[in-house]
Amino acid sequence: MPGLLVTIPLTVISFSFAMIIAILTAMVQVANVPVLRKLARFYIWVIRGTPLLVQLYVVFFGLPSVGIRVDAFPAAVIVFSINEGAYCAETMRAAIESVPAGQMEAGYCVGMNYVQIMTRIVLPQAFRTAFPPLFNSLIGMVKDTSLAANITVAEMFFAAQRIAGRTYQFMTLYLELAFIYLMFSTVLTRVQAWGEKRLNSYGGNKI
């Protein structure tokens, strides 16, 4: 299936950017950075409040009318990164806030500064808490990438539609496509289970 070679990079690249956006967006809120905090809330409000498909159309079909032309694949990467970033930001923020304030205070008391405590104590614990929901988002995103077919990105769904259009074997093709997505999710679920086990190396689930 040729679309695989698009779906995989689209997912991997977009999710990586999404994670960076998520951490930054969560951090400015947790650290209470004056203007950026408001900006972060606004970003999350807009992105979570509008359909992904509409966001794809705005970037791919809308932007050219104001003179900004983006190719289909980069347009999809931009939209998926920004969209997923908003959801993951909320996951990260909740996870960071779930780390007790005492961890931060203990860090201060041994002479560490905010950034040192964040990176070495708080974020590692937050990642552990955020890991399952983030994986959930990732699995969701694999399937959402099929929406990119709407803006002519030749990922799996797009490829399947094409072939179906030629061969009229709708049932077989779409079932086959569904199966491939299922395999994807299955592999990711396995990776998640493996990852959770590794993260449990802090001596049990009691955290």
């Binding site: 007790p100 005492g102 961890q103 205070e105 203990a106 860090g107 201060y108 008391c109 041994v110 002479g111 560490m112 500064n113 040192q116 070495r120 104590i121 590692p124 614990q125 552990r128 802090y202 001596g203 049990g204 009691k206 955290i207």
Partner: protein, 250 residues
């Protein structure tokens, strides 16, 4: 010369005035027990002098240098914190670090000590609190008493001039209190300067050199522990000590 002085410390949380002009002075080698009923401001006092809480006003003289608590700079705070240790009621060990890493983290990260050197020092401190055999355990794998002993080792790691203890045994099961108190007692014997908020009357009476009774945001009475316990000046102190005695059934 006093190693630590606090003058006219005021702190309020919204409506409630929690500290109403607290002053105290601690000499090198003093073990000061802070006693008093719940809500009297003992924790807030310790938190203010280690800057976990921002005081509204007051001065702190630490190691000969005077600081205005309401306008103290980040750099001053950092420099004082490098010379103090803090032991929390609920331990607050770093949950993603082993016992040894809890002790070495501040040394390596804040003090830029060589990892090897920090680990050697960390092991010595864990030995001192009787936790060397649990060096690679995570906090979740330790009992409360063991966690608190690691926390004491962590507070000692910086070779502090003073250690603040906020009810270090209050969260512990009764059978685990003794092991923590005995570590604190040996620190006192070595001449470590400490301020200990506690409900352990035996500890206050027998180990601390001075005792303070605090209520409603003010220090009601203070004195050397011997006379504080045998002959308190104020009725209120007497009442409190009587009540504590009845509570612990001595």
């Amino acid at each position: 010369m006093a190693m630590l002085e606090v003058h006219d410390l005021y702190k309020r949380f919204e409506q409630t005035e929690v500290l109403k002009g607290v002053s105290l002075s601690v000499d090198k080698g003093d073990v000061v027990a802070v006693l008093g009923p719940s809500g009297g401001g003992k924790t807030t006092l310790l938190r203010c002098i280690n800057f976990l809480e921002k005081a509204d006003s007051g001065t702190l003289v630490f190691d000969g240098v005077t600081h205005d608590l309401s306008s103290i700079t980040r750099a001053e705070i950092a420099s004082i914190r490098l010379r103090t240790g803090f032991v929390f009621q609920n331990y607050n060990l770093f949950r993603n670090k082993t016992a040894l890493q809890n002790v070495t983290e501040g040394l390596i990260i804040a003090r830029k000590m060589e990892k090897k050197e920090a680990e050697a020092r960390g092991m010595r401190l864990l030995e001192k609190v009787g936790m060397a055999d649990r060096a690679s355990h995570y906090p979740s794998q330790l009992s409360g008493g063991q966690q608190q002993r690691v926390a004491i080792a962590r507070a000692l790691s910086a070779d502090p001039q003073i250690i603040y203890f906020d009810e270090p045994t209050s969260a512990l099961d009764p059978e685990l209190i003794g092991e923590v108190l005995s570590v604190m007692r040996s620190l006192a014997e070595e001449g470590m300067t400490m301020i200990v908020v506690t409900h352990e009357m035996e500890f206050a009476k027998n180990v601390s050199s001075r005792s303070i009774f605090m209520e409603n945001g003010v220090i009601v009475e203070e004195g050397d522990s011997a006379s504080f316990f045998s002959n308190p000046k104020y009725d209120r102190t007497r009442e409190f000590l009587q009540m504590e005695e009845n509570r612990t059934g001595i």
